[in-house]
Symmetry: C2
Subunit: 322 residues, 2 copies
Amino acid sequence: MEQEEKSYVIGLDMGGTNSVFGIVDQRGTIKAQTAIKTTGYPDFADYVKASVEALQPIIEAVGGIANIKGMGIGAPNGNFYTGNIEHAANLIWKGIVPIGKMFEDALGIPVRVTNDANAAALGEMTYGVARGMKNFIMITLGTGVGSGIVVDGNVVYGSDGFAGELGHATVDRSPEARHCGCERHGCLETYCSATGVARTARELLVKYADEPSLLRNTNPDEITSYDVFLAAEKGDKIALEIFEFTGRMLGEACANFALFSSPEAFVFFGGLTKAGEYIMKPIRETYDKNILNIYKGKAKLLCSSLNGSEAAVLGASALGWS
Amino acid sequence: MEQEEKSYVIGLDMGGTNSVFGIVDQRGTIKAQTAIKTTGYPDFADYVKASVEALQPIIEAVGGIANIKGMGIGAPNGNFYTGNIEHAANLIWKGIVPIGKMFEDALGIPVRVTNDANAAALGEMTYGVARGMKNFIMITLGTGVGSGIVVDGNVVYGSDGFAGELGHATVDRSPEARHCGCERHGCLETYCSATGVARTARELLVKYADEPSLLRNTNPDEITSYDVFLAAEKGDKIALEIFEFTGRMLGEACANFALFSSPEAFVFFGGLTKAGEYIMKPIRETYDKNILNIYKGKAKLLCSSLNGSEAAVLGASALGWS
């Protein structure tokens, strides 16, 4: 009897709080899903054991491990070359965690590891809006700003597996540049992450002290990018200006990024993209204004086509096919 | 009789004024060299004809065309994908010039085309200081600033063949940012090219009007980066400050470039590298100060090991092996 093609992969999206597992088919449909707490297991071996226990029933649901080609893991500071999580600041396991090898041993299938932004890029290339593209740059707009860079159809991992940290590109060198969690100043993510947007909101509410705004109904320290979106939807001038500013910063930055790999597209992903044209219009306008002549009109500026809550698991799973 | 391995390649370094041809062996020795004027042939077909005539005797000198594996061309706006020169501002031929195909037809060997900075990167990887490296960034410091980016052992050409224009990275967004020939402002090359250094010299001579300097013996409009070097050698404070400033701008910029591909090295090439530690020390110090923590101590900052006058031909020739 001819051996059947293995039809599924497992994706693991490891966040600081939750770890979500999905079993995915070749068309990018999540056939089954489960989750455990990331924080519940001080000993990493216990985390792997709990994961395998949670996976067992959903693996059985697709006909057993023999039908599964591999597993892909998107994890903070996940290193594609080593298969390890290396010195992740937001996880309880310190130092080097050999997550790839431990899941391989536990499940008996090939396991590949990368970080969440690279996983997102793979997800778009495999199932999403970047299907068929060989050169594009993924920008993830979440609590921070991440990036996954695809050149000639491959994610750029660089000399050490940690390439593609465009969220830490210095975009402001002035003395007023914002301080970043990475201990440097003026990083893109201090302006264009969800927390960057909230920071901009607080700044502009002070700057335009005489301008009424719905955002003044919220404690400044508790303003979220979603509050800004809701206010923008009601035509709030300050809220619109916040997205305008954020989009301009992103457009300028992307015009610089294009010099590197002349991508056919930038793909934006994350909560902020829900702001739609409020943010995409200034991105496009500023990109077009700042891009070097030879690249003009070449790169598309797109939003992810994947369902937000599924995208991270899909992205991780994409690594399971390789 | 077994066919002998083809032992040589032809390199063509096309500059705005001169076109230099070399026949190169596998160790990177230029066995024979010739040149023609780039500007002497309004009809491009005549340029190819003159090139082939000039090449004939040096091809014969290595035993004929049968010993030659291929030809590589480094030319302004040379496009690796199409084999064309496309809209080169500084050449007399306008529009699209199918240089690759025309040399292939004339010589009967494979011909590959790229721009000079990518050729330089290939030269370093094939014969120079980047031998054995899979991930590095070449920065050429000439009249402009060029770059060639190598990821996973391949030059990054991007979606259109024109990737790698880091000389046009915006490094100053302030209102005082320098105007660039590309019609934008604050490009790296307005600060760190040979002409950028001369520009800095003129600015600092005004800024430190009371400080004596050997550079005041030259008409400000005629100061070259070589004058600045000679003055620095004599301990001239302003000259030293010029290289310090230039190196700091480069170090900051390279710290941003590292975020993209986490290279194992930056390789600097061109006249300015003759300034040695005057420029390399501030590059290193500023890079180390600005680099994101996870990349700290990883990338080497190197100068090209190729003989300056031969490097461009060697670089172009490296493309002939592929």
